[in-house]
Each structure stands twice: as C-alpha cells, then as structure tokens.
Amino acid sequence: MIDFEKVKQTVGGKKITLGAVLKSDGSTVATKTGGWRSLRPVTDFSKCVKCGNCWTFCPDASYKKNEKGYFEVNLDYCKGCGICSEVCPVKCISMVREEK
C-alpha cells in the first residue's frame, strides 16, 4: 500500500505527489472538462429507443441512465466529441453549437 501522505511534497505552495501518482478514486470526477466543448449533444427523447449506444460509446462516461430508462448526458464532463450522435441508430442526438 502507498502512504500518500509520505509521497506528497509541497512545491511553490502546491501539494504534489512523486511522479504525479494519483489516488484513482475521484480525481476524474473533480476535474470538470465540460468547458472544452464547442458542440453540445441534445437528445430528442420522443425518438429515442433506449438502446444505450450513446452510453456505451461515450469516451468520457458522461451518459447516465435515468429512472425512466433514458440516457442523459452530464454536461460537466461531455467534451462535445459527437460520437454519441454518430452511433445513434435513430439519429435522435443532434450536436448544437454552444453559443446558440
């Protein structure tokens, strides 16, 4: 086991670890990458067939199933790559420019 307190050091007022090793739990949740996005996926749930392709293929694991069985995107992490829109069999996800 690694004692993270031991491998931490303070440089320029910042706590860093040896070789930038991270405890895996939580670090990807803390870093919100949604701000990188220029296109936003918008799902038309009236056409959605709940197949889950968007959930399967999302490289950032941004989709989550809601209680009705539909898949909703979490815009805190979606980088707007558009893969969900590409793989949707009924073409119900459209990519919309952020400024609109």
Binding site: I2, A20, S24
Partner: protein
C-alpha cells in the same frame, strides 16, 4: 573475490545476473548485443529468474520496462545509438513518472551515414531526459557501476532512471581482467527494490502518468529536477559504501575510491585534459609520457555526467591554467558539449582558465597517443582554434 578475464559486455551481464531484475526487456542492436545475448542465455538456462520480454523494437523495450517498473518491480534494459534514439520519447516518461529503470547504454555513433562504431553522440543527445548518466573507462568500472546504478536509482530520495554508458567495441568487446565479486556481497549491498509510489495493487488502484495541467506541471517538473540535483549526495554515499565494501582487487582497473570524478596526476598540474569513457586510459598513458619529460599535466575523468558534478569539477580544476576537453559528441552550431558545460562551471572562478574543445573519435575513429600528444602541444602553445577536430 572472483578474478576473471572477460569481455566488458559479459561483465555487465554478470552484474545484472547478480542484481536479478524482475523484468528484462531489450531489443538487440550492435554493439549492445553481447550483453543481452548473455542475459537471455542466463534466463534460458535457468540461472537467472528474470522475466525476459522479447520485444519488437527499442520503443517497446522501454515501454515494457516502464510498465514493469510502474507495478513496483525492478526493470532493466540495454541499448545503443539508433535504439536509444527510438526510446527518446519514453526516456522523458520514465524520469517524469519517477521510475527507477536501469539501463546499460553502449555508446555508438548515430546515423547518417550509418555507422556502428563508437562515439558519445547517442547518450549525450539524451542528457536532458532526466536520466542519471555515468561513463565508464574499464570493464571493472562497467561491472561496478552496473551494480551501483540500481542502488542509486532505487534510493527513495532519487527514484530516477539511470544509464551506465560504455564505449561500443573499444570497451564493450574488449577482454580485461574483472573482479566479479560474489552474489552474497552484492545482495547485501543492493537490497531488493521496495517501491514507495508505484505499485500494482488491486486493493489500492492508482492513476500513473496522468495529465498535468498548466496549474501543476511546472511544480511536478521542479520536483523531478530537484531530485536529480540532490541525487549527487546519494551517488556520493553509494560510491563511498561500494569503495568500502569492495576494495580494489586488480590494480589500475578502477579508481581506488569511487567519486564523481577521478583525478590523475592533477595535484601540481598546470594543464589538464578532461574526458569521459575508455579514451581516459589512453590519455593516462600520454600523461605518464609527458610527465617523464617533465611536463606538468594531468587528467580529470568524469564518471558522473548527470547530475553534472559541478563542485567536484570546480575543486579538481582549481588553479589549472589551461584545459583541453576531449569529446566524442557535439552540439552542431555550438561546439563541444562537455567543453561548454565545463566552461560554464568555471565561469567567474579565480583562475579563468583557457578552455579548448577537441573533437575526437567520431564514428569509431581511433583516438591515438599521437592525437593526445598533439592536443597537449596545441594547448600548451596556444595553437589552433577554440574548437579543433582531430582527424
């Protein structure tokens, strides 16, 4: 003590056998081949319990070592020239992730034109990669440094990769008497690696090699550079410990006491040669000849090159009036690399010595006694330019 006449490459293989890396990953390339062939023999014959990974390239070799080391085990590789060049990207990743991978680097010229013989351009071109670099003169030093590099790299205050650089052919394929000591003593001296930051443990999942945002990258690089600078103390400690535990068995096969630099006839010298690697043996012969003629000349040999032993160099060259740096690598457009660095160290010191760069031995060109005598005459009589190519 076991005194044997053996090839320097085989001496390194014997050292690595005693060290028992958990993983060896290497791709054969001239003139490194005799090391890895011997190691794969050891593994195939059951004499060495390492996992030997046959890979498709040097890029894969170092990648495998990084992966292995990231799980917390001891990893080793060896390469030369184009192989090291192919590893270039991964050299920085190894040091950035603070993985103590150890390597034997058999110095060979870089293409083009293609050339399999010795110079230092390959390793010197990787001097900024954050690896520790040591240069050896003899088979004995190659053996000893190959043991010491693990103890240094794996020290909890260092945790950086290291390469022991040995001249291709002029040393790697030369037979010399080597004291290969005993495995028991080596095990006492270099204990098993106990990782403090990189382990494979399902109970504690980790992310290694993550993205470093502009908000943290600079601090992480600072910590890495500080570790390399501070490693100078650990190296000194390990050199001292080794010299105590393993006294010289074969006369002139290595320095009496290991240190970052070796001084040869420097005590009252007015003119000094500075060099690294196997050519130091030839230079020592010339120093003896010149001393017999009453010339006050000596040699400063660098063993530690990264971290650059600034204080040791300053101390050794104190009071020297003229310095001739012999080097087998160049930074085109600037000149001799080592000469520049030595000049930098000596800037604003009292004596302000005259420093000249002599480019020798590229692509396996012999560095002869005559070359070195000529270099001495030129330095003494202020002949030639600041950078001379000795063809």
């Amino acid at each position: 003590m076991t005194k044997k006449v053996m090839e320097a490459s085989h001496a390194i293989a014997e050292a690595i056998k005693m060290i028992e890396p958990d993983v060896i990953a290497a791709y054969p390339i001239t003139p490194q081949t005799h090391i890895v062939e011997r190691l794969s023999d050891f593994v195939a014959d059951g004499e060495l319990k390492s996992q030997y990974i046959n890979v498709d390239s040097e890029f894969s070799a170092l990648s495998a070592c990084i992966g292995a080391s990231a799980t917390g085990c001891r990893a080793y590789s060896s390469t030369s020239s184009q192989g090291l060049a192919l590893m270039f990207e991964l050299l920085f990743i190894t040091s950035g992730m603070r993985l103590p991978v150890c390597m034997s680097e058999v110095n060979r010229a870089l293409s083009a034109p293609i050339n399999i013989w010795n110079d230092h351009q390959d390793a010197i071109s990787c001097r900024d990669s954050g690896w520790l670099q040591f240069y050896v003169e003899t088979g004995q030093e190659a053996f000893d440094l190959s043991l010491m590099q693990f103890k240094i790299s794996e020290d909890k205050d260092v945790l950086l990769p290291s390469m022991v650089c040995m001249d291709g052919f002029t040393l790697s394929h030369v037979y010399e008497p080597v004291d290969i000591t005993t495995k028991k003593l080596v095990e006492d001296f270099v204990p098993r690696y106990k990782p403090v930051h990189a382990v494979l443990d399902p109970e504690q999942p980790l992310t290694q090699g993550p993205i470093g945002f502009p908000s943290e990258y600079m601090e992480i690089r600072y910590a890495q550079c500080a570790a390399l600078n501070n490693s100078i103390k650990t190296i000194e400690k390990v050199f001292k410990g080794f010299s105590d535990k393993f006294p010289v068995q074969i006369k002139n096969s290595r320095p009496e006491r290991y240190y970052h630099v070796e001084e040869y006839q420097l005590h009252d010298a007015e003119i000094a040669f500075v060099a690294m690697g196997s050519m130091c043996g030839t230079i020592k012969d010339v120093v003896d000849r010149l001393r017999n003629r009453g010339e006050k000349v000596g040699l400063l040999k660098l063993i530690t090159y990264r971290p650059f032993p600034k204080d040791a160099i300053k101390k050794s060259l104190k009071g020297i009036k003229k310095i001739a740096v012999l080097e087998k690598a160049i930074s085109p457009g600037v000149g001799g690399v080592l000469c520049d660095e030595i000049a930098g160290v000596l800037y604003k010191t009292d004596t302000q010595p005259d420093i000249r760069s002599f480019i020798v031995g590229f692509g396996g060109r012999d560095v002869k006694l005559d070359h070195i005598e000529k270099i001495y005459e030129m330095t003494k009589n202020d002949k030639g330019s600041k950078e001379e190519w000795m063809f």
